[in-house]
């Protein structure tokens, strides 16, 4: 596990770098021997998975870290084969059901039920329940989430489900109420800086304070991103200098460029160009809501308050619609067109005001 993100990942609840109080609480939770279903929620790169793994280790000991990859195949009602990758140890199983796309319900029904139904044979010296870790549950379709509901209640004797969620808003209330929510907030910049310095110390590198701070600022309080950035910086240039170029994400730069183009020109022809860029982003697998977010963030930079409010309002409504639809490009473009429209009006008003 040579990637620094993995190499220096804390493996024990006591070794976590931040949210220490919460870590203690989790420890206590395990001491009780039993706990309800858990839902870890927090932004990407905040350390949800790290905490889950620490918790499991606390529960079952080191055995949970001996993981194996398995690929499971399911047959959908329409006779399609769906492959799902699972990572499991003797004590737990980790699945990302949203990998199955629109067939996630099948995964939930078949796989999770199947695992949850079976009892542990040898309960001596072990917990009498297994743990299923479901990641990206908020990406699940409503159907799948509903399918999960009853499973969670029915098999609570044999299995605990730990959900890892980015945003609870997309998890149906029924599931939310069945879980103990554990919020994993993104680390603060100071925390990130200290972690970066700690990492460097372990790698026996020297990092100037300034660089660490710059990385912390650029990483969106995403610790994974911060450490990856650090590693990329190390590969690019070492010894570190304060003003060293920090590698950015390609798609973010691309998105920023797109936003700039929108600001530059508001014509149908331009809109068509923008559409191509949006297509490009989507086809590279950038999630559409991230595109929305990135666009809005970059677009509102040069707007006054009124326009900002309007932009955000439109963005919200279009994003909402996007989640109801299936062709993301329509909604993204509709938003861009709408922004062009109001921005152009705004510019015209400005010119009018000058006279």
């Amino acid at each position: 596990m040579a990637l620094w993100v993995d190499k220096h990942r804390p493996r024990d609840l006591s070794k976590l770098d931040y949210h220490k109080v919460q870590a203690d609480q989790l420890k206590n939770l395990c001491k009780e021997g039993d706990f309800p279903h858990l839902m870890f929620y927090g932004p990407s790169g905040a350390g949800k998975k790290t905490r889950i793994m620490c918790l499991l280790r606390e529960l079952y000991g080191g055995g949970v870290e001996r993981l194996r990859n398995e690929t499971m195949t399911f047959t959908t009602p329409s006779n399609r084969k769906v492959e799902i990758m699972t990572v499991s140890s003797n004590y737990h199983m980790e699945v990302n059901p949203s990998d199955a796309g629109i067939y996630d319900r099948v995964v939930v029904v078949d796989l999770i039920k199947q695992v949850a139904q079976t009892h542990q044979i040898d309960t001596a010296g072990q917990r009498e329940f297994k743990v299923i870790v479901l990641s990206e549950v908020d990406e699940l379709t409503k159907d799948a989430q509903h399918a999960l509901r009853r499973t969670m209640e029915k098999y609570v004797a044999t299995c605990r489900i730990i959900l890892s969620v980015n945003s609870t808003s997309r998890v149906i209330p029924a599931i939310r109420s069945r879980c103990l929510g554990i919020r994993v907030a993104a680390p603060t910049e100071e925390e990130i800086v200290s972690i970066l310095q700690f990492t460097c110390k372990k790698e026996s590198l020297h990092i100037p304070e300034g660089l660490a701070q710059r990385i912390a600022q650029q990483c969106d309080r995403n610790l994974r991103r911060a450490i990856l950035m650090l590693e990329a910086c190390k590969v690019q240039q070492y010894p570190f200098t304060i003003n060293q170029e920090i590698t950015e994400l390609d798609w973010q730069m691309y998105l920023r460029e797109t936003a700039n183009q929108i600001m530059l020109e508001q014509t149908p022809a331009k809109l068509e160009k923008i559409r191509e860029r949006l297509y490009e982003l989507l086809s590279q697998g950038v999630p559409p809501d991230m595109i929305f977010k990135g666009l809005v963030q970059n677009l509102v930079l040069n707007c006054d308050m009124e326009l900002k409010a309007k932009t955000l309002q439109f963005a919200a409504s279009y994003e909402h619609r996007m989640h109801n639809g299936s062709k993301h490009i329509f909604h993204l473009e509709a938003f861009v067109a709408q922004f062009m429209n109001i921005y152009k009006k705004y510019l015209a008003d400005m010119v009018m005001d000058d006279f």
Binding site: M1, A2, L3, V5, R9, S44, G45, K49, M53, G62, E65, R66, L67, R68, N69, N96, D99, S135, E136, E139, R224, R225, I227, L228, E231, A232, V235, Y238, T247, L249, D250, W251, P268, L271, E272, E276, Y279, E280, L281, L282, S283, G285, V286, P287, M290, Y318, R321, M322, N324, G325, S326, K327, F330, A334, A337, Q338, M340, N341, K344, A348
Partner: protein, 985 residues
């Protein structure tokens, strides 16, 4: 005489551009067919001077031919004829003659000629036999042969060619000179003969020698008509009894001469052609007129009618059948299409009708070639070339394969119903002299019966049919045929040997496809036809122009006594989408009801509209274009219906668009098309308000779609049409819209799929311990881009040993990460011979944007890394194999057990019984008896027993020895006995 219509058809078909030429041809044909003797025999006795001869006969051609180089004279279309006609000396005689020329002295030769001329004068008075004798006397022996040839039945074709040989071989100047003299000599001789013959004719003009006449006629026919494909330029004609004839094609000069000739003879004596010809002409005209009227009345007794139509003469038959085109002339469909198809069918002539398989060209092409050469000489057939060029524009491959078949062995006609595809195929096949075998949707078309039909059709001829015409297979409605049948057809076409692997090699010859196959389909893009489409000669049927159709309908109407006008019929044609069949049916319907068809009836909306499938582009066109107002029938309550022009109100437009979109179906693709085109349309609004509006509706229809697909709630489906109305109202203009086929969406899907595949592969390769890299979107959007940077360390191009510690660390780091993620470098050979390392799975393909670098490493670095990865992967494999057995160690412990084969056998000491064991240990011999004297030390010599393995000392020895084994089960102490080499020797 019978040939008249057929011939005209033929001409019309092939040389429509040369219609003016055609006017001349009937004369020639008349001459050909008339029982007239060769014109050369009818002369005034007085006109035997050289000059007259020149003007009368082919002698100009002769003089033209001989002085000119023989090579060119061969090309001269008239040359061979004349030479043959006048019996140019044979081949065999050529060289001999040259050899003999030197014997003639120059002066003596001239004398001779004069002498001969004098003789000719004399001959006039000499009786026939005497003349012949004289000639024999004058000429050499060869002249006799010449005479035979002149009146012989089969003129030898090889003359001209041999003449060339003669010339080529005799380059010698003297010989040439001699030859020239010889030629002059021959020339003279021929003239003499002509003169003599003329004299003979002139003597008794009235009662000509009948044998002579017949001979000449036969001769002429032999020269000008042929049942097989001749090697002169020809014109194929189908006689009334469906025999194919090839009529010779003559140059204009030749023809003119013939005409002159006839005229002269008419002037000379009124006997032969005068009133007879007149009579013939009148009869011909009568017959033609009768034909024409017969055709117009379309009575069933037409000559080229298919037998099945025979029962269609009753009054109650369908008009559609009654006015079915029966001749090529009558076809309504696009002329170019008709001709291309016929051309294709003609290309089969070589295989089907021709007998000579050695020649690389089809007869038709040869004819084409001849025409072109002819064209050079006369400058008359210029448009021929143009026609040919135009042909090649259609995707007809005029090449033929080694059997003389066209490369495209199947013609595939496609087009909407009612355009006359089937009719065209039938008419043309019949026209080209084929027996039609049709296989359509009503027949059983499973692969077996399909196979049967194909094989029967191509390899057999019908026995019962007296005509014995070759078959032409027409596969109608092939788009409905099962996939397997079409597969079989494909195999049948491409290589018939495949279909009959069981048959012997001897049979192979028979299994070659030798008959044309015409397939007809409505939808060219049926998946089953995909492969056929690639190899077939595809003829797309353009719609019939409505004026043309209207005219034809009017014609029918007038014949049937239906009162109507052209306007109404045109409207009818338009309404039915130029479907001939439905138009005629409709007319018959009206005829039956009230004998009147008015414009109002046509516009009355209740009938005649066909729910036809419009192309996507038509629908898009309708969306982006404001339709011009159309005639419409408006009925106010109680008032009489009147025809008014439709307005361009929103309501009308909305209805139009809705109708079109509804007919078009496939809203998804339509929407994508609109989506990718609407930004290119004219947009007057500067603030993009319209675009925003349009986008709203795109979102709306997307959400609607999602709902429909997700919940299977098809009650929402009708609402999907309405966005199109909005888009139409927003973006439509009167101008013709430029619409491109939507491809962005498709490309996007493709790209997304590719990225997904790579990502899947990438994720599968990641080892289970890598948790920090994230999952799903996080992995893709955060880890992958950084990974690309992290995996591009800067390494110098030196060997591993020379790297600095830091570089070594970097290398190791990179390699470890790549091993974690299951990435490897694959060496690939590029097309230009260079080697290249590519990542597998290629993460460069993920999160790739133009202008942003992926992994950029030098070739050498990649090589280095690739080697290192291999060793790392191997190293990792080892502990994994024994992983589950090992006691739990610290997770990231680097302590690895040595590979199995490196392990040595280590004695395990049972702690409990250790002491006892030592005591109890007794040495036993082979049969288990106790050996008293042996002690543990003796074992150090090597005579060990398995039992001793537990002994630590013995174990040490074994452990040290390079030979090891693992004890599994059973007794092997019997086996393990040391044997020395000396014992064996």
């Amino acid at each position: 005489m019978d040939q008249y219509p057929t011939e005209e058809e033929e001409f019309e078909l092939q040389y429509q551009e040369e219609m003016d030429m055609m006017d001349d041809y009937p004369d020639v044909n008349e001459v050909n067919i008339e029982p007239t003797p060769a014109p050369s025999k009818r002369f005034n006795s007085t006109q035997h001077s050289q000059k007259t001869q020149k003007s009368i006969l082919q002698s100009p051609s002769i003089s033209q031919i001989f002085p000119s180089s023989p090579a060119s004279s061969i090309e001269d279309e008239g040359g061979p004829v004349n030479r043959r006609l006048f019996g140019t000396p044979g081949t065999s005689s050529g060289p001999k003659r040259f050899a003999s020329t030197p014997f003639y002295g120059k002066s003596s030769k001239i004398n001779r000629i004069e002498e001969v001329l004098e003789d000719v004068e004399e001959i006039e008075e000499i009786p026939e036999n005497g003349a012949l004798d004289e000639l024999m006397r004058i000429g050499t022996n060869k002249n006799k042969r010449k005479l035979d040839e002149l009146f012989g039945d089969s003129p030898k074709k090889t003359y001209d060619r041999d003449l060339v040989y003669g010339d080529d071989t005799y380059v010698d100047r003297e010989a040439k000179k001699a030859k020239q003299e010889e030629e002059r000599d021959l020339d003279l001789i021929e003239k003499i003969m002509e003169a003599r013959k003329k004299t003979k004719e002139g003597k008794n003009p009235g009662m000509q020698d009948h044998v002579d006449k017949l001979n000449a006629l036969h001769d002429f026919k032999m020269r000008n008509l042929s049942y097989t494909i001749p090697n002169y330029p020809f014109l194929p004609i189908v006689r009334s009894d469906d025999e194919r004839l090839y009529v010779r094609f003559h140059s204009e000069e030749y023809e003119k001469k013939h005409i002159d000739d006839i005229r002269i003879s008419e002037k000379g004596f009124s006997g032969l052609l005068g009133d007879q010809k007149e009579q013939i002409w009148t009869t011909a005209r009568e017959i033609t007129v009768k034909r024409m009227t017969a055709m117009e009345n379309s009575s069933s007794d037409d000559v080229v009618e298919i037998p099945s139509a025979g029962l269609a003469s009753s009054k109650g038959d369908l008009w559609v059948d009654r006015y079915k085109p029966k001749k090529y002339y009558d076809l309504l469909s696009d002329e170019a299409t008709n001709r291309t198809l016929l051309y294709w069918l003609k290309m089969w002539d070589k295989v089907v009708f021709g007998k000579d398989f050695k020649k690389p060209q089809t007869a038709y092409q040869k004819q084409q070639q001849n025409l072109n050469t002819f064209n050079k000489k006369t400058g008359r057939f210029e448009s021929t070339g143009g026609w040919k060029n135009r042909k090649s524009r259609l995707n007809l491959n005029t090449e033929t394969d080694e059997h003389g078949r066209p490369i495209q062995k199947v013609a595939l006609l496609s087009g909407p119903p009612g355009l006359g595809k089937t009719t065209l195929a039938h008419t043309i096949a019949r026209h080209a002299g084929y027996q039609i075998r049709e296989l359509n949707a009503s027949d059983d078309r499973n692969p077996d019966s399909f196979k049967m039909a194909l094989e029967n059709g191509t390899q057999m001829t019908s026995v019962l049919d007296s005509e014995k015409r070759p078959n032409c297979i027409i596969l109608d409605e092939i788009d409905g045929a099962p996939h397997q049948s079409i597969d079989f057809l494909l195999r049948f076409i491409s290589d018939t040997a495949v279909t009959k692997p069981s048959k012997k090699g001897a049979k192979e010859q028979a299994s070659i496809l030798k008959r044309p196959i015409i397939c007809i389909c409505n939808d060219l893009y049926t998946p089953a036809l995909r492969q056929l489409r690639q190899i077939a000669f595809v003829v797309n049927f353009p719609p019939i122009e409505s004026p043309k159709l209207g005219e034809r309908l009017l014609e029918i109407a007038s014949k049937e006594g239906l009162q109507t006008d052209l306007m109404a019929l045109m409207a009818l044609a338009e309404k039915s989408g130029n479907d001939v069949r439905s138009c005629i049916s409709m007319m018959q319907f009206f005829n039956a009801t009230k004998n009147k068809l008015l414009l109002t009836d046509v516009l009355n909306g209740n009938f005649g509209t066909k729910d036809r499938n419009q192309g996507l582009f038509d629908v898009w066109g309708a969306i982006f274009q404001i339709k011009r107002p159309q005639k419409r029938l408006e009925t106010n309550n109680n008032e009489e219906a009147q025809v008014v022009l439709g307005n361009m109100s929103t309501a009308t437009r909305m209805n139009n668009v809705l109708a079109v979109v509804h007919a078009g179906g496939d809203y998804d693709r339509l929407m994508q098309g609109v989506y990718e085109n609407f930004l290119r349309q004219k947009m007057p609004d500067p603030n993009l308000t319209g675009v925003v509006e349009a986008c709203h509706w795109f979102c709306f229809s997307d959400i609607l779609n999602q709902q429909i697909n997700h919940l299977q709630n098809y009650s929402l489906y009708p609402y999907l049409q309405f966005p199109f109305v909005v888009w139409h109202l927003l973006f439509a203009s009167l101008a013709w819209p430029k619409i491109n086929f939507p491809h962005q969406g498709f490309e996007f899907n493709q790209k997304t799929t590719t990225t997904k595949m790579v990502f899947q592969a990438f994720r599968k390769g990641i080892s289970s311990g890598v948790i920090g890299a994230g999952q799903g979107a996080g992995l893709l959007t955060e880890t992958v881009p950084f990974l690309k940077r992290i995996l591009s360390p800067s390494l110098r191009s030196v060997s591993v040993q020379l790297l600095t510690p830091r570089e070594k660390y970097d290398l190791n780091h990179t390699v470890e990460i790549m091993a974690d993620f299951g990435l490897i470098y694959n060496q690939l050979k590029k097309p230009d011979g260079m080697y290249e390392y590519t990542l597998e799975p290629d993460i460069n393909l993920m999160c790739k944007f133009d202008g942003y670098p992926g992994i950029n490493l030098a070739y050498f670095s990649k090589q280095l890394i690739s080697k290192e990865i291999e060793s790392v992967v191997l190293r990792r494999m080892a502990p994994k194999a024994s992983g589950p057995l090992r006691p739990l160690t610290n997770n990231n412990s680097k302590k690895t057990a040595p590979a199995n084969h490196l392990q040595t056998l280590k004695p395990r000491i049972n702690e409990k019984s250790k002491g006892k064991e030592l005591e109890k240990r007794v040495s036993k011999d082979f049969f288990g008896r106790r050996i008293a004297g042996t002690s543990s030390t003796s074992h150090s010599e090597g005579s060990s027993n398995t039992g001793w393995a537990k002994n630590p000392t013995v174990g040490g020895i074994i452990g040290k020895s390079p030979i090891w084994y693992r004890y599994k089960e059973g007794f092997n102490n019997a086996v393990r006995k040391d044997v020395f080499m000396k014992d064996l020797l």
